[in-house]
């Protein structure tokens, strides 16, 4: 330390403006310094650790959605490791002799027997299994809602497009990981899910039958699928998941977190709390809250009671068989696709009624998601960095597109429950299916339109609020008997949020020929881009400018019943002066 060095070099001296510590370091600080010094001597970690501890994170409730995803994933990793101590990933036959009486003496796979063993014979095994399943559900929900937040606030814009793509891959991996996981118990329900999966794969054009025999190591079900899913579930996918997640959060730290606009928050700063101590306490505490809430749910709400279904057998089936929620949209698509999408020609069969829903939809959804930032970048031609988030209303078309996408996804997802709805609502399953089939095409455009109009209306209300000024509630009477209400004319601090965003305009189309009359080669692309830009921004409502505010105060407001006369302020100040 510089204070103890016999001959301080200039670099160790205090900088201008720094002040020496008022008191010598305490014993605690010395001991921490001693240990940290030992580590730093060998790693040089003081610099990066010091940087990280002082790093500032902005606060907003919606930033915790990604945290919930992260913590749920960690909980899955921990509880999953526990489960591997007892779970036997084998389709080998055994006869159950555990403590669950109704299944005693039943032939089943070792996988199912060991899952029953965890649930009934391992003390606390059931709570770990339930936490694992609930945390997986929480993980996938949090991932999706976190994506909503990032999408609707435009957090995916430059420089974060890469992280958005990584996030899309993570979201896809999360649901594949979930599918592999809930297929492992090898009970009747999960086996039926694997049966359907075999059916999907089998319909892949040209190579389907080879693919399904490859995956299952021979005819369905075989004895290979359980160990292979296990290997994918505990090793392959988690390795990629954790690797990409590390890159995901590393990029967040590197690029610094985005922040919502507000007084003092700009595109060039981050306003928030440092990691040490506030953020460490809040984020660290939040891990325990997420864990605690999942533990509470797992203690009180049963999930996937595998003992109720019996071992897998290709012949029986239970009504109401459904996948976990995150696979629902693909299952729903399978229920909606009509049979006439299967074609036969030259002795070959192409089953688009299955392939579209099971093999195309899943990657397609995540590809469209991953590509979106680049589409919007093409439309706006905006090459600047964006660290301030959009309020969703200030990007009406993007918000509309997002809501339309969510609507289509939701239609698919609810379609996966058409049988349950038919029973619970006492309706015809055919009618419900047709409602979803038509709704898939009709509802998204309606939702897009309603969302966009709602955003524009909210923007107009923002403008109205700014232009109108704040109602002071003070009615002033002029000497000649006229009345007017005083409006505060300075932009109050809390209205900054209403005017902070940038004005947007559709791109202007450049002349298609240059000054020599020669057609520009890029004209067609530009026309396309201009058309998209008009779609995005033609009816944009832009924020109030200072000039508009001044004009509004000058001219009064057309809809204002009592108009402020010219010289109102003079009268007012005269009145005030007279009162005192």
């Amino acid at each position: 330390m510089s204070t103890t060095a016999p001959d301080p070099r200039p670099a160790d001296a205090l900088r201008e403006g720094d002040s020496a510590p008022a008191t010598p370091p305490s014993a605690g600080a010395r001991s921490i310094g001693g240990f940290a010094g030992w580590v730093d001597d060998r790693t040089g970690a003081a610099k990066p650790v010091g940087y990280l501890m002082k790093k500032v994170f902005p606060d907003h409730w919606s930033f915790m959605l990604g945290e919930i995803a992260m913590y749920s994933m960690i909980i899955c990793l921990v509880t999953g490791a526990f489960l591997t101590f007892w779970y036997v990933p084998s389709a080998g036959h055994t006869v159950y002799d555990g403590s669950y009486v109704p299944l005693r003496g039943v032939e089943m796979s070792e996988a199912y027997a060991s899952t029953l063993h965890i649930s009934f014979d391992i003390k606390g095994g059931l709570i770990i299994r339930q936490i694992h399943h609930w945390a997986a559900l929480m993980f996938t929900v949090a991932v999706v809602v976190h994506m909503f937040r990032v999408f609707f606030t435009g957090a995916f814009r430059k420089p974060r497009e890469l992280n958005w793509v990584i996030g899309s891959v993570l979201a896809l991996l999360a649901i594949i990981e979930g599918f592999a996981g809930y297929s492992l118990p090898d009970d009747l329900l999960s086996g039926t899910g694997i049966r359907a999966m075999a059916g999907f794969v089998q319909t892949a054009p040209v190579i389907g039958s080879y693919l399904v025999y490859g995956i299952f190591g021979g005819p369905f079900p075989g004895e290979m699928i359980i160990p292979r899913l296990y290997s994918a579930h505990v090793l392959l996918i988690p390795a990629v998941l954790v690797g990409l997640f590390t890159a995901h959060i590393g990029l967040v730290a590197l690029q610094k977190h985005t922040q919502f606009p507000g007084p003092g928050r700009t595109n060039d700063n981050v306003v928030g709390y440092p990691v040490m101590p506030v953020y460490a306490a809040k984020a660290g505490g939040f891990f325990f809250i997420v864990f605690g809430v999942i533990a509470l749910i797992s203690a009180l709400v049963q999930i996937n009671p595998i003992w109720g279904y019996g071992p897998y057998d290709p012949s029986p089936v239970t009504a109401g068989s459904q996948p976990d929620w995150y696979m629902g949209f693909a299952d729903g698509a399978l229920r909606l696709l009509p049979g006439w999408l299967e074609f036969t020609f030259f002795g070959f069969t192409l089953s688009l009624n299955i392939a579209l829903g099971a093999l195309v939809l899943l990657p397609l959804v995540y590809m469209v998601l991953g590509v979106y930032p680049f589409v919007e970048r093409f439309v706006t031609g905006d090459d600047r960095e964006h660290h301030l988030l959009d309020r969703p209303r200030n990007a009406p078309v993007r918000t509309g597109i997002g809501m339309a996408g969510i609507t289509a996804y939701t239609v698919f997802m609810f379609a996966a429950g058409n049988d349950i709805m038919a029973i619970k609502l006492g309706m015809s399953i055919n009618d419900i299916t047709w409602f979803f089939r038509i709704g898939l095409f009709v509802l998204p455009p309606i939702v897009f339109w309603v969302t966009k109009r709602t955003c524009l209306a909210l923007q107009r209300r923002d403008r109205d609020q700014v232009l109108h000024g704040r109602e002071s509630g003070t009615i002033i009477r002029t000497p000649d008997g006229r009345f007017f209400e005083r409006h505060d004319t300075e932009l109050p601090e809390d209205q900054w949020i209403l005017v902070q965003h940038e004005a947007v305009h559709p791109l202007e189309l450049e002349a298609e020929t240059d000054e020599h009359g020669v057609a520009r080669p890029a004209a067609r692309k530009d026309r396309f881009r201009a058309a998209l830009s008009r779609f995005y921004f033609a009816d944009a409502v832009n924020p109030v400018t200072p000039a508009e505010l001044a004009a509004a105060h000058h001219h009064g407001h057309e809809t204002e019943a009592i108009e402020a006369p010219a010289g109102a302020a003079e009268i007012e100040s005269a009145e005030t002066a007279g009162r005192h």
């Binding site: 606390g124 709570i127 190591g217 003092g264 325990f288 299952d331 001044a550």
Partner: protein, 380 residues
């Protein structure tokens, strides 16, 4: 900024078509001077002190609350340890609103939740009430490196990398490209080539073809009795009443009910293809002549494996003679040769031609004439 402050406002605002008033939905009004295009950021709002910052009593109260929450966590953890040894894994407990549930699951879970929530809520409450709440401003810097640094990377790649002479020596360049392009082939081949048996004809065969139908098997047909699943007893045609439905497996597939011996070596794999539903209808209701011909006095047998993705078609509506697959709701009409009348499946369920043997038991007259179950490219 009212008109007193800016006496020439009217001249600064471009006039639209609506007279002097600024319409709210009109987008930008362009200022021509004097006023900036945008409002300026007012800067961070004034800091408000919390109760605990100004009132030592409030701070002590917060301290006690945090300590209580941490205390709850300790109690939860200790209770977990006690319950772990106290409770028996088979004990159940009644919880209002939940019903009877595993005592260890509920007890250990709730204790774990208390243990976690105590720490979490305590830490967050501590941060919100007692830790400094002054917002800190950190500057951002553009993500991109400086031009010099970028140029240096390009230079190192082209010049230093170029000093390997890879561009000047095409022989090395192309053989390296070839070697790197090929080296993964053995690994992919090992995995891809050893995944498992390829299907051969097995997707088009079932046990009804005369026995084991796995890859490479060449079964020869002989009539087989239709056996009740899971009882594994043959079915007399006379016992099948109108409206009844039987789950059926071919003779020899299921092991003996008593001894557990015999049966198919690959039981589940054979069941997954051979499962059949047997129903008896009033022959007058059957609209397909082929269906009548392939049945016996209104007794008809159809594959139970859905032609969509292969779930068992498990739901039979006796009144409407509809078969419904519970997975994706494909609906088949048994009176119309199991034609698809609703849902995502395309093809009807394959019919198994049946007759009766000398003793009056139902037997198969021929194997399935087409592949059962989901479609695949070369099924024809």
């Amino acid at each position: 900024m009212n008109d007193q402050d800016t006496p020439t406002t009217g001249t600064e605002v471009a006039r639209g078509d609506h007279g002097d008033a600024v319409r709210l939905d009109d987008g930008h009004v362009v200022g021509t001077g004097g006023l900036p295009d945008r409002f300026t950021n007012p800067g961070l709002p004034a800091h408000h002190h919390r109760m605990a910052d100004v009132d030592e009593a409030a701070a002590r109260r917060a301290e006690k609350q945090v300590a209580t929450l941490f205390g709850i966590s300790i109690v939860g953890t200790l209770a977990f340890i006690v319950l772990y040894f106290l409770l028996d894994v088979e004990q159940t407990v009644f919880i209002p609103g939940v019903g009877y549930t595993s005592a260890t699951n509920a007890g250990l879970g709730v204790c774990l939740a208390l243990s976690m929530l105590g720490i979490g809520l305590g830490a967050v409450h501590w941060a919100k009430t007692l830790m400094p709440d002054h917002e800190v401003v950190e500057e951002r810097h553009p993500m991109r490196a400086s031009d010099a640094e970028r140029a240096e990377v390009v230079r190192v790649i082209t010049e230093e990398g170029g000093s390997s002479q890879v561009m000047r020596r095409p022989l090395i360049k192309y053989t390296l490209g070839g070697a790197l392009g090929l080296f993964a082939v053995p690994l992919v081949l090992q995995v891809g080539g050893s995944l498992g048996e390829m299907p051969k004809k097995s997707l088009s065969l079932t046990w009804w073809n005369g026995g084991p139908s796995g890859p490479g098997e060449e079964p020869t047909f002989s009539p087989m009795r239709l056996m009740k699943d899971p009882e594994n007893v043959p079915i007399k045609a006379a016992d099948v009443t109108i409206g009844s439905v039987y789950h059926v497996m071919p003779e020899g597939l299921l092991p003996d009910e008593e001894t557990g011996e015999g049966g198919a070596e690959h039981l589940l794999e054979e069941k997954a293809k051979a499962a059949v539903l047997l129903m008896r209808l009033d022959p007058a209701q059957i609209k397909s002549q082929k269906e009548l011909d392939w049945g016996y006095e209104g007794i008809v047998a159809y594959s139970k494996i859905c032609t969509h993705v292969g779930c068992p078609v498990g739901l039979y509506e006796q009144q409407t003679h509809h078969l419904l697959c519970p997975c994706h709701q494909s609906t088949f009409d048994v009176t119309q040769d199991c034609k698809v009348i609703f849902g995502p499946a395309k093809r009807p369920l394959p019919q198994l031609k049946i007759t009766v043997d000398d003793e009056g038991y139902l037997v198969s007259a021929q194997p399935f004439r087409e592949a059962v179950g989901p479609s695949f490219w070369e099924r024809g």
